[in-house]
């Protein structure tokens, strides 16, 4: 039973992290622009997040150290502070995008004014985060986020050409539109390899008191949790490819993917899709704000943890509240959450290398890890992905500028 509950950590991570507003935006836009051609990128992204999440979960279980602790220790104060600032900017932008997503879905469900719903949404997630214990946050957002599985049903009911879908899993390059295609490759990888997800996962593992006996559960949660996330990403892209590409629809609105579920399954499909999106982006809003608080508290050595009462980790508690308040301010300006999402995903790619390098170094250090250092497979994959991350980190911003944010 306890092991089953632990898997919830992975499911929350998958829904809130793998499928958050970044995945909803990039997968849907990729499907609407290039059909099934970019499905292979999701596979590469999910294997990468499985490799690094398993690694940071193992490091947390054996060394009891969360990621930002290691960032500081391994890259030093100055580079560590640079990484902290970059990751906090990305966390804040992502949190703002998710909060905007919550408000958009609430507007679609209720018809009330958008700005009032932003305020209501933020107050709602702050109160829920304050009141509910860690386990209940996992369960509430993890399980209700599973309503997103409606997109998998919709993808099947729309009867795609399965031969073409299978062809999408083979890497290739289209005859034209190379720069926009590469922009989506970088965006999809960035949406899959979110740094806040790694911070949250490892801090959660330390909070849950993982030890050597939990290494198996770590592997299972990483593979099942993120595998489920990838499954949903495929579904979103397939639905967009079948419905939006032939009609020339450019899904610049967060509610557009839900229309795909409505087309295939009627009103109940629409409702399930909106509830799934609401809890996926709501859960991700909480994860991003908590990740921001974890990072700053670990970097400066403060008391931290959601399992402690707020008065036992006061600067940590104030930090996540401040992140929500700043996110509220950003979204209240009226800037489009979908645009904020694109910026947050592309900038997060730039912060990735300094997040993943310390994990890779410590996972290979026997003084921290004893006999649980990386296997040869983990190392080969870890190094290959680190090189890939460096390449996409260098190309992310130029591609965003050249393609005008994927608009061509």
């Amino acid at each position: 039973m306890k092991q089953f509950l632990q898997i919830a950590l992975g499911i929350l991570s998958a829904i809130g992290g793998f499928v958050d507003i970044g995945d909803l935006v990039f997968n849907t836009q990729a499907g609407a622009t290039f059909g099934f051609q970019l499905l292979w990128v999701v596979v590469i992204g999910v294997v990468g997040i499985i490799v690094y999440s398993e690694m940071c979960g193992r490091v947390a279980a054996i060394s009891k150290r969360p990621v930002f602790d290691l960032v500081r220790e391994r890259v030093g104060f100055s580079a560590g502070l640079g990484t902290l600032v970059a990751s906090e900017v990305v966390n804040l932008l992502t949190c703002a995008a998710e909060v905007g997503g919550v408000a958009i879905v609430l507007k679609l469900l209720s018809g009330l004014p958008y700005r009032a719903l932003i305020l209501l949404g933020v107050v709602g997630v702050v109160v829920i985060s304050w009141v509910l214990p860690f386990e209940w946050l996992e369960r509430l957002f993890g399980y209700l986020g599973l309503c997103l599985l409606v997109f998998a049903v919709a993808a099947v009911k729309l009867h795609p050409q399965w031969g073409q879908v299978a062809h999408g899993f083979v890497p290739g390059m289209p005859a034209h539109n190379h720069a926009v295609y590469l922009y989506f490759v970088v965006g999809l990888l960035g949406a899959a390899l979110t740094p806040y997800e790694v911070y949250f996962y490892s801090s959660g593992a330390v909070e849950d008191g993982w030890g050597p006996k939990d290494l198996r559960i770590n592997k299972i949660t990483a593979v099942i949790g993120y595998g489920l996330g990838a499954f949903l990403s495929f579904s979103l892209m397939i639905v967009a490819a079948v419905l939006f590409l032939p009609r020339g629809i450019d899904p610049q609105f967060l509610g557009t993917p839900a229309l795909g579920a409505a087309d295939a399954l009627g009103k109940i499909g629409l409702l399930l899709a909106l509830v799934g999106i609401l809890f996926a982006v709501g859960g991700a809003a909480i994860e991003t704000s908590f990740s921001g608080a974890y990072n700053v508290a670990q970097f400066f050595g403060w008391q931290w943890g959601k399992r402690r009462k707020p008065s036992g980790a006061p600067r940590f508690a104030l930090s996540w509240i401040v992140i929500f308040v700043l996110a509220l301010g950003i979204v209240m300006t009226g800037y489009d959450p979908v645009k904020i999402t694109e910026y947050s995903v592309i900038f997060s790619v730039v912060a990735l290398p300094l997040t993943f390098l310390p994990i890779l170094l410590v996972a290979n250090d026997p003084t921290y890890m004893g006999r649980h250092t990386n296997s040869r497979l983990s190392n080969v994959l870890g190094i290959v992905y680190f090189v890939l991350i460096l390449a996409i980190a260098v190309s992310a911003i130029p591609l965003m500028v050249i393609t005008n944010g994927g608009q061509g």
Binding site: S78, A79, L81, G301, Q303, W304, P310, P314, L318
Partner: protein
Amino acid sequence: MSSGDELDLGLGVLDHQLVDSEGRNCGNVDELEIAGISSGEPEVIEILVGGNAWRGRGLFGRIAAALSGDAVHVPWSEVDEIGAVVSLKQTAPELRLGRGDDRAAKWVERLPGA
């Protein structure tokens, strides 16, 4: 990190978490004060925590130090054990550490459910 009597100060102590005698996180090892270098018998005498301890820690360290106050000096003799974290012999208030958390707690405690 360390093996036997040897201790790598750069990798095994600097930037590590400080934990007081009651298990409370109370800052990081931001800088080490070393004496006796010129006499050929260097010895760590103090751990510096926060504020201007960051001055010698690169460009961002100088900027952070300029925006902060004085560092807290913790005598090396107060170190109880060095492992994944640096454990101290006394409580954080006795060593003037963790004061930011104490100040913030006064605000947070006013909120319901804190």
